[in-house]
Amino acid sequence: MANFQTPEITEYPVIPLLQEGVMKHSKPYMAAPKHQEALGFPGGLVDNWKEVAIDKMGELLTKYRSLPVFLDSCVKCGACTDKCHYYLGTSDPKNMPVARQDLLRKVYRRYFTVAGKYFPKLVGAVDLTEEVLDDWYSYYHQCSECRRCSVYCPYGIDTAEITMAGREILACVGKGQKYSNEIISKVFVIGNNLGLPEPALKDTLEGLEEEVKEDTGIDVRFPLDEKGAEVLLITPSADFFAEPHVDGLIGYAKVFHQAGISWTLSSYASEAANFGIFIGDYDNMKRVAMRIREAALDLGVKRIIVGECGHAWRVAYSFWNTLIGPFDFLDPRYPAPQHICEFTYDLIKRGALTLDKSANDHRVVTFHDSCNVARGSRMGDMPGGQFVIPREIIKAVCNNFHDMDADTIGEGTFCCGGGGGLLTDDLMEVRVKGALPRMQALKHVVQEHGVTHMAAICAICKSQFSKVLPYYGFTMDQIIAVHQLVGDALVMGPKQ
């Protein structure tokens, strides 16, 4: 399968001893010139990369308050050192959040601070050399921007912000990452991450209508580009065909059907994920997001609902209003945007859905909080609603639910290991190793409570787990969409 060893799941979680440099070799493929250029970056490493990089760093320092504050404030207390799943899974010290920040901080100190200019050795400042740039390329692509470290830092230092800056500088000198940049250019050209053109999308949706009809005998629609629909659904393109994602999409469609609310997908903006956030580039993130505003206006919808996708929800919840708002053309009675879980939960609370929990009796379910939902966004109107609402939905549709250990869920949740633009085969080793803490917690509830399935609300989590679960002795179908559980329990037909 692969030329690395899957870490062993021990009885208790352990903090590994440092093994310097063990993950230095792990690097993603470089972006091809045409994808770099489509995003406004140079095609390959520019000659004066050093100046360009320092200039870019200077520019970012004046654009994002997080950077100077985070780079200055770290006291090297070490509280974050054992909080990153990539460090726990690989033992490479540069995967400790503070050390990952230091890769950039050392250079910041050298060029932008008095202490680093005059006493570089004392404060650990270094010149920007090719070796440093190489380290950036390796280790800023071993961070899933999951923000777990930020929860535990006494100053809230968010390594994800540093990683984004690091990647943006790399892209600006011509060292972009293939996976993310290629996808963003596909979104610009075709409308979604997969490069799925409109006719193919239409076909797929028709296929799904037939499938549901066969299953339930009911005409559940999967509408595309329907002007005047009430709801525009923005969902990750994985939902259109891959397992287990597609069962989630079927779940949403059934919920819309039962609620009697008209909805549509858009072929122009058929993708929720916004990989702009992964490369830290504001312009690209805005440009990717803008398609959604345009689609909503064009279709004349009243509400925008976002499907099960972690980073997409973070961008939608936290950034859309800033990037592409104001949403004054939508119905002000609903939050803009709204998460599909908020929507379904609201229907459940109002008793608008008939649910047969026993349909899920063959499953014992646990819930994986996806990091960007857990630590970067919210649902409902109270802090922490994003932890409560999905669990309440699961409990409303399943009889058997068990949470994993308290310090591995909620705000302290462990990343699946594949977020932040790492969901690519060239980074398989870091993905598998980074999944270790989550696998450990999962194994615990499997043994203690006989858990059979882990539900999630993020396309990346679902894809990542399908791939890495087998490495740890689980089966790939143990990961499941929350809305598959809903769809399975939903009693279709006229309300009883």
Partner: protein, 246 residues
């Protein structure tokens, strides 16, 4: 008035000036740099009041640190709390008459030096004993601890062994404040203690001690979680062209 007194008087003004201007300009830099996107770490408060409580909890109780590592929290908190008591106790050298509450904490402040040393010792031990913390420590991290230990140590020695001319010291300090310079008692331990404190004031704006203002400007902690309710805009970001790159 000897050379020593004049030298230390000038050094005091220099250090105070550097501290105020240095930290002040950092605060201005932080305040002026926009935070273009909402990035509070959740679960984040949805009101301004909630944010004040959140930051207050971080300042007074070190809540996030408590969540992450009980040992660092214990040593860190004891060190900082002792330092606060000690600083407040030292106000008696700067006020005439001494405020009643400064007099009240005076006896506790004296013992706080032991707390400070205890906390610092714990933090320093971690830098040697825990391989992860050893890896991330640079010489300046050790130096900073050494400086603080030396300040606490020299202070303690003065309190218990090498008593200094407190009345003379207070006259010197008040003289600095009222621009009516008085001689500095020439006790070696006092001179050492004073020099170390001045050094700390001077390095403050150039070192990781910037975590003090940084704490208040950290966007992950000080932002209100209300991006759907309230549009958050920043000039450079609003002007950013969404079609650039084409």
């Amino acid at each position: 008035m000897g050379f020593l007194s004049i030298f230390y008087a000038l050094l005091f003004y220099l250090a105070a000036g550097l501290l105020v201007v240095g930290v002040g300009s950092k605060i201005v830099q932080y305040a002026r740099t926009p935070a273009p996107l909402k990035i509070p770490t959740t679960p984040a408060p949805t009101t301004r009041r909630g944010v004040v409580l959140r930051i207050g909890g971080e300042v007074v109780l070190f809540t996030s640190l408590f969540k992450s590592n009980k040992w660092i929290w214990l040593f860190g908190w004891i060190f900082h709390f002792s330092l606060l008591l000690i600083l407040l106790r030292h106000l008696r050298y700067f006020t005439q008459p001494v405020w009643w509450w400064v007099a009240l904490i005076q006896p506790f402040g004296k013992y706080a030096a032991f707390g400070m040393l205890f906390g610092l010792a714990g933090l320093w031990a971690r830098r040697f004993l825990v391989d992860r913390v050893r890896y991330i420590s640079s010489p300046s991290d050790h130096l900073m601890l050494a400086l603080l230990v030396a300040i606490a140590g020299s202070g303690l020695l003065m309190t218990y062994f090498f008593h200094t001319d407190i009345v003379g010291l207070k006259a010197f300090v008040l003289g600095l404040l009222y621009l009516d310079w008085q001689p500095l008692p020439p006790d070696p331990m006092l001179i050492i203690h004073l020099s170390l404190v001045l050094a700390l004031m001077i390095v403050f704006p150039f070192s990781k001690l910037l975590h003090v203002p940084g704490l208040f400007f950290s966007p992950t902690r000080n932002q209100v979680d209300n991006p759907r309710e309230k549009r958050h805009v920043t000039p450079w970001a609003t002007d950013a062209s969404p079609t650039s790159g084409n």
